[in-house]
Symmetry: D2
Subunit: 325 residues, 4 copies
């Protein structure tokens, strides 16, 4: 298990009512230090614009080295600037669309320079808000074409693209909304393109993440990356892992192991009011605890359990193996 | 903790696609025997028409005595007969409305005869399906008046009414939909009327049941009864307790104790495809396990934890006290 | 626009609380007569077991001819018999799985005999209820293999398969859950396999059906069939079309036209308490009204509107063209 | 019908990903001018901190007079400052709680000075995020007590308090979450305290707003204020009225008239990417159009329609009276 963190999660986070954020803004060096100090964390995800720009690649490389952290991924910024507000990859404005392809290109270069090999691409603004307001076919074609350019560029640099889906927010409807539609896209785009499952996004899509992992295996080895957070399943609440769900996370760990996933286990939360360091650390400790149970019980026993298809046996397992005695 | 079971949950259950039910229909004597054999179960809820009619009160009384079970409640049937299909308490047909008041009256008598003191009243057909199709004000007035008649009759017989809410199903919208609207009604109807929280119904209403229990305390001692089952929070899936949720159930047990609840902990599930006996038993064993943890940790420590309002501390508690080490 | 009806929708419908159904059971000959009398209806969908069996093919053929109706599709029954209760195509029982393939084969023959060329296949029981209870990878492989057998058999008979998805119910999770995952399957299965969009199922999946239609176009001409009904988007309420949504239905008609859809516009509702004939007829009249507006306004004007990507212009369009003046 | 607007809705709006907002920030004088220019708008709602402070009351009064607008309400700011981030009325910090009562007091004075008589109080930060992290009973008691102080102060100044509920956001759970729980609170607090229904918040709570209005009538004349916006019913999307719903808005207008509502019809939207002026104006034009239909059809005919409880008749009404011919 290789654990990583999205750097910004340790810092200040805002929402639409409190745009200054709920906490004080912390220094990035402190955040890096905090990240490195969490048991088991060896990687960092850097968000374009926020953490990494054209100008600070060398500096960041030195800082990561000093902190003993690897670059787990770069997340190009297609969501946090006004110019992307009405869509990046599917913008009606050809100029914007050019810039949008330039952004991941630069970040692909940055990833390569940082020794990373993964771009986590979340086209959060690429969607629509209202019915009867969009030419879906044209947009989807644009999206596929533009992602295709990124994929080709990345292939040359030996970088992989992991497409991250989310049913909604910031748009009321996203184009990359669920595992299966993103997988359709990834299969079209080639070998170096796969899917990121954000557990919270998948919960909101009413997916069972265990099945989503199996689906990505069934149609190719297409699970490239994992983001972890928890929620009530009605919105992307971005909470501490294990605050709401237990059984599903255990099942996720089983399926990651079962399908031979060897990517990062990365934390992606929004600790609006709670301490960022504490919240991220708690998520990792929770997953490590479940991982320990899985090790102890063994893959085989879990395999036998699920082969029974018997909820009463599963309830006994939960009671005897997952819950404190 | 007094555990009880809705008798029919142990038997065959159907849905709209498979009206014959997923399992074989079992003999009621066997169901009673199964119920009595589950560790800790001392009460039974009987559903009108299905389990208890005008004619079998004496017989049922003898059977309960033999099985060593008490009558936890009677649930008058206002949902399983064609005549209630367009509403019972708010039926547009005055004849139906008379019958609908007659039904709980008979069941109040039956409860008294069986030594029970609780009627669990779920007006499941009292609601509406389509917008712009209903005079809500008239319906709600009818509902209040008719429930008032039942309440008065019950008061004379020293029987209490627990009103059970549910956001929807079988109607697309129910009149008794959530804790607060049911509480409003109960306060209007007098001292012997309170509320049943079905944990699954409350989850679907996006309620935190801990808060719902506190609300019923804040505005009077209005929690009269509890039904337990689990779901994914999007529909009344009526699953084994603990299949999805952990922390919320622990929190529920805390608040039941904290507010001095002394009613029944009753199971109400729909084990469509799974073994009924096994499913109900698993739910009770899960709750007993959590109850054991609460005893060990102590009310005071949990009180201190929640006083902190700190999700990071709560995450540590979950990890250290609720999850297996 | 070719309108059709699922025959049983005109009759009695039940739910899990009222298994006898809310209405009286009507004679099938009457239902056929009612169907034929609705303006614009020229096709009928027949449900296996309920409407069509091995034994009544010739009889049904005569009745359809007499009523002047074509067989729009046959819907093999994989949901309404106890033997399918724990899954048909993915049953753990090899015997069941053999039967499950036999069922559509028989219905493919029946379709061919009736002069139809479409099987609408809804594997409603093929899914799962609980987490940590299922080997998703094995199940999904079984599903693909068994559907593959059906597809091959159908190809020989010049029959097309339309796979109908639904996020949940009767299982808490279905394998064919949304447009994209069903499309993935259909692409794997060959040219004669496509997708049925049930508007209500798609609403529950938080899909914009206009986009779903575009998606099926983008990745092949994979929209084979359409079922129409309305709901509140939280459950498959199976209501009269237009009871809740307006703009989305108009948009759907636009996209059907735009993508050259030439299949059936079929009604699939569950008029539990309302008059079946009236409910189905109302849905068709509503769609015909919207179709009339689309004709009058013209495809080009709608195309220009959506090219604007401007919700304010769309709001003006709704106000001026869709709402009564 | 008295129409009003929340001033800030015409300006720039942000979300958690794009904290600078999607548009340019406009001058408040321009916003006032835009508001006054919309057909039928005669009132303005002013948000504390954003629009109205201790220091600009006289200035604002002059501006409103100049623009010919009345102060429909003041909305004290309990959500947009860091100090309220962990709760205002239920803050664990007694100092914060004092400030929180001071804020509405100042705004009550401001309302009185501006010639207004309504405070719209939305305690958006008063809720909780995680289970097992909150003493609900203590919090709810604090909330009731502190609102009681505001109510008493307002009573002296002849100002009414309208409590606005919302199921969630910015907290994962709000204390004032739905119509009924807010009504319970309002009844406890006295005659000058009532409820604001925000149509979008109610949709998210799966309320039928027609019924919510009837409920507030049934238990007192407790509907004090109305906010209008539209959404997909899964989140507070704050869209243009009529973008998604039609029938429900018509029904709302019927029930407002039926129950003798004489308050404001106020727009409360978040036009993130669309033109603010155009979006708000479109909402009002839509409601005026529906109001025109209601006038033409007449209250009596709608009353007769809903008395039928017949979805088929309602479908005919929708088709014949609400949809364009």
């Amino acid at each position: 298990m290789k654990y990583s963190i999205i750097l910004g999660n340790l810092g200040n986070t805002c929402d639409r009512f409190l745009s200054s954020g709920y906490k004080d803004t912390l220094d990035k060096d402190l955040l890096l230090k905090q990240a490195a100090s969490i048991e088991g964390v060896t990687g960092i995800e850097l968000v374009g614009t926020w953490d990494i720009t054209m100008d600070n690649v060398a500096e960041m490389k030195a800082k990561l080295a000093e902190a003993g952290l690897r670059c787990a991924s770069i997340i190009p910024d297609h969501f946090a600037q006004k110019r992307w507000g009405r869509g990046a990859f599917v913008s009606a404005d050809p100029g914007i669309r050019r810039e949008e392809v330039a952004e991941p290109r630069a970040k692909i270069d940055a990833a390569a320079a940082l020794g990373g090999d993964l771009l986590n691409l979340w086209p959060g603004q690429d969607g629509y808000d209202y019915p009867l307001c969009t030419n879906y076919l044209e947009d989807r074609t644009l999206l596929l074409d533009n992602l295709g350019e990124c994929a080709a560029y990345a292939r040359d640099k030996q970088v992989r693209l992991a497409l991250e889906f989310k049913p909604k927010e910031p748009r009321n409807h996203s184009y990359l909304a669920r595992t299966a539609d993103t997988l359709l896209m990834a299969r079209e785009l080639g070998e170096n393109v796969g899917v990121t499952i954000d557990t919270g996004h998948a919960f909101v899509a009413y997916e069972n993440v265990g099945e989503s992992i199996a689906l990505l295996k069934q149609f190719g080895n297409k699970l490239f990356h994992m983001h972890f957070n928890d929620n009530y399943t009605h919105w992307d609440d971005d909470m501490i892992v294990g605050s709401i769900h237990l059984v599903e996370y255990f099942e996720i760990l089983y399926w990651l192991e079962k399908t031979g996933y060897d990517g990062w286990i990365s934390m992606d939360q929004y600790p609006y009011r709670e301490d960022g360091y504490g919240a991220i650390r708690a998520s990792i400790l929770f997953l490590q605890r479940l991982g320990g149970i899985l090790d102890r019980v063994g893959m085989e026993e879990v395999g036998k359990l699920i082969a029974k298809r018997d909820p009463v046996s599963t309830a006994a397992f939960i009671r005897e193996k997952l819950v404190a005695q």
